[in-house]
Amino acid sequence: MEGFLTRYRWLLERIERVERTMVISLLAIMVGCIFGQVVSRYLFGLPLVWVEELSTYAFIWGVFIGASLGLKKKRHIKILSFVSRLSVSRQAVFLAVTDAMITLFCLILVVNGFKAMTLFEWSQRTIALPVELPRVLFYSTPLILGAASMALTAAHDFLGILFARRQVGSEGTEVSR
C-alpha cells in the first residue's frame, strides 16, 4: 500500500503543477481581456463583444480548477468544532469520514456532469466568440475535471488515513471575504 500511495502522491503533484499553470493563465486571460476591452473601447472606439463571453468562460474554468487546488492545499472553508479538540487519532476518524463524503460527492458531480453534457448542452453554442464552440466546453467540462481532480485528492487523503496512518491534525479555518 505504501508504494501505491507514493505513486498516487506523485500523480497528484503532477496534476497540481498542471492546475497551477492553468489558473495563472485563466486569471491572466480575465485581466488581459477585460483590460484590453476597455483600452480598445476608449482608444480605438472599438468595443469587443466577445471579450465578456470569453472572460466569463475563463472565470468558470478558474472556479473549478481553483477549488480543486484549494482542496489539495486543505484551504476549503470549514468551521472548527469539537472535532479539532479531539485527540489526533480520534480526529483521524472524522477526517476519514469527511474525506470519504467529499470523494463520493465529487463522483456524483462527475457522473451528473456527463449527463448534463448529453442532456442539455450539446445543442447550445457560444454566442459572440469569433469561433462557434459547443457550450459544453465551458459549463460541464470544467466542472467534471475539477470534481474528478477533487475526488482523486480526497480519495488519496482517505486512503492515507486508513492505510498509512499518516500524521493528521486539524488545519486552521479559512477566511472568507
Binding site: 480575465m30 476591452q37 472565470f59 472556479v63 481553483g66 492545499k73 484551504r75 460527492f105 449527463k115 442532456l119
Partner: protein, 426 residues
C-alpha cells in the same frame, strides 16, 4: 418537512468539520434523494449556469487586486501617510490603524487582505509604540471589516450575483456607511484614550513638510479609490472593468517600485485563484440549494411567520439584524450569506425595502459577525498576528462592538445614507 431535514443535515455536516461547500452539496443531494422526483442532473446544471455572469468576474479581480496591493510597499506607505495625519490625536496609532484601513479599503475587496497585509504592519507598530497587543489586535480586526464596506467588496459581488442587484449601486452604497463606521470607531478610540481606559501614547504633531512627503509617497494608493468611485459614478466603466484596471495598475506599480517579481506575481495569481475558486465553488453549490429553498416556498413561510409577529417594516428589519448578528456569532460569513439571502431577500423586497439598502444591511451585519466571539474570523487572524490569547482579544473587542452596531443601526434606519450615492447614478 423534508426541507427541515435539509437544514439539519447541513448543520450536522458542518459540525463534523466538513467544508461548507461540500456540506451544502451533500445536504442538497440528501434532499433530492428523499424527495425522489428531481434528478441530480438539475443540480449540476444549476451550478454551472449560475456562474455564467459577467458582473461575477469582479470577484476574482478584486481578490487579485487586494493581494497585489497588500504586499509590503504600498501598505507601508499608506500607514506612513495616515500616521502623519492622525498620529497626534488622542489614541495615536490606533487612529492611524483605522484611517489606513479605510484608505486601503478603497483597493481591497476582502477583510483578510487588510488583516494579513496591512494588519501585520499595524499591529507591529502599535506594539512597538507601547500599546497592549490585545488592543492592537482588536482595533485591527474592527477596522479590517471596513474593507469590504468601502468599495470594492467581494461579499457585495456575491450578494449582487445572488439577487441580480447592480454591483455598481451596491459598491457606491457602501462608501458613506464605510466612512461613518470608520469615524465612529475613531470616536470610540478617542474616548477610550481620553478616559485612560487604554494606554495610548500620542505621537508628536508632524510638520506639514512630512505630511506632504508621506502624501506623495501614498499618492499612487490614494488615486485608486478615487478613480474607482469616480469611474463608477460617471459610468466610465463597469465594476468588473474597473477591477481589471486596478489589477493592471497594481502590477505596473509593483514593477515600477521594484517590489514585485514575476515569480511573486505568479504566486499571487495562484493564491488568488485558490481564494476565489473556493469562494465561488461554495456559491455555485448554493445555487441549487437556494433553488430548493425557493421552490419549497420557504421565503413565503418565513415571511408569513415574521409578518405574524409584526407588519412594521422597521421592526422586521431589526428582527433580521438580530437574527443575523446572532448567526454571525456562530457561523462563517459566506455560509450565512448563501443560506439567508434566498430566504430574506424576497421578504425584504416584499416589504418595500430598497434592494441596495437591504444589501448593505446584510453585508454590514455579516461583517460585524466576523468580529463577534465565539466564532469571529477577523479575531482569529489578528490574534495570531499579535500572538495574544482569545480571551484577551475578546475583552478588547467588546467596546468596539458599540460603534460597529451603532453604525449598523444608522445604516438600517437612515436609508438615505446608503442610497444617496447610488441615486446619483440614475
Amino acid at each position: 418537512m423534508i426541507l427541515a431535514l435539509l437544514f439539519l443535515v447541513f448543520l450536522g455536516l458542518i459540525a463534523v468539520e466538513l467544508p461548507i461547500a461540500f456540506a451544502l452539496g451533500i445536504s442538497s443531494i440528501c434532499y433530492l434523494l428523499l424527495e425522489g422526483r428531481t434528478p441530480f442532473v438539475i443540480m449540476v446544471q444549476k451550478m454551472t449556469s449560475g456562474l455564467d455572469s459577467f458582473p461575477f468576474l469582479a470577484l476574482p479581480l478584486f481578490v487579485l487586486a487586494g493581494n497585489i496591493f497588500s504586499r509590503g510597499g504600498i501598505a507601508q506607505r499608506i500607514f506612513n501617510f495616515a500616521r502623519a495625519i492622525v498620529g497626534h490625536i488622542y489614541g495615536g496609532l490606533a487612529h492611524v490603524n483605522v484611517l489606513a484601513s479605510m484608505i486601503f479599503a478603497g483597493m481591497s475587496g476582502t477583510a483578510q487582505a487588510d488583516a494579513a497585509g496591512l494588519g501585520i504592519i499595524e499591529i507591529e507598530e502599535m506594539r512597538r509604540d507601547g500599546f497592549d497587543p490585545a488592543f492592537a489586535a482588536a482595533v485591527t480586526a474592527a477596522s479590517a471589516i471596513i474593507g469590504p464596506i468601502i468599495p470594492p467588496s467581494v461579499i457585495m459581488v456575491i450578494f449582487a450575483v445572488m439577487t441580480e442587484v447592480s454591483v455598481a449601486s451596491l459598491f457606491l452604497g457602501g462608501f458613506i456607511p464605510g466612512v461613518i463606521m470608520g469615524l465612529s470607531l475613531m470616536a470610540m478610540i478617542y474616548w477610550l484614550a481620553l478616559t485612560k481606559r487604554v494606554n495610548a501614547p500620542r505621537l508628536p504633531r508632524q510638520s506639514s513638510r512630512v505630511v506632504w512627503q508621506t502624501f506623495f509617497g501614498a499618492l499612487p494608493a490614494l488615486v485608486a479609490p478615487i478613480f474607482l468611485v469616480g469611474g463608477m459614478l460617471m459610468g466610465v466603466a463597469t465594476p468588473t472593468e474597473l477591477g481589471a484596471i486596478v489589477v493592471v495598475y497594481g502590477i505596473v506599480l509593483g514593477f515600477l517600485y521594484k517590489e514585485l517579481t514575476l515569480r511573486e506575481l505568479k504566486d499571487i495569481f495562484v493564491e488568488s485563484a485558490i481564494v476565489y475558486g473556493i469562494l465561488v465553488f461554495i456559491i455555485s453549490i448554493a445555487f441549487p440549494f437556494g433553488w430548493l429553498v425557493a421552490i419549497n416556498k420557504v421565503p413565503a413561510i418565513v415571511a408569513q411567520w415574521m409578518l405574524s409577529l409584526t407588519s412594521n417594516k422597521w421592526m422586521i428589519l431589526i428582527l433580521i439584524n438580530i437574527v443575523l448578528l446572532f448567526a454571525g456569532c456562530f457561523m462563517e460569513t459566506t455560509a450565512i450569506l448563501v443560506i439567508s439571502v434566498p430566504v430574506l431577500f424576497p421578504l425584504a423586497t416584499k416589504l418595500g425595502v430598497d434592494p441596495v439598502h437591504f444589501g448593505l444591511i446584510m453585508v454590514v451585519n455579516l461583517l460585524i459577525g466576523t468580529c463577534t466571539p465565539p466564532f469571529g474570523i477577523a479575531l482569529f487572524i489578528t490574534m495570531q498576528i499579535a500572538r495574544v490569547p482569545f480571551a484577551a482579544i475578546v475583552r478588547a473587542i467588546l467596546p468596539f462592538l458599540i460603534p460597529l452596531i451603532g453604525g449598523l443601526l444608522i445604516i438600517t434606519y437612515l436609508p438615505q445614507v446608503v442610497l444617496f450615492l447610488p441615486g446619483l447614478l440614475k
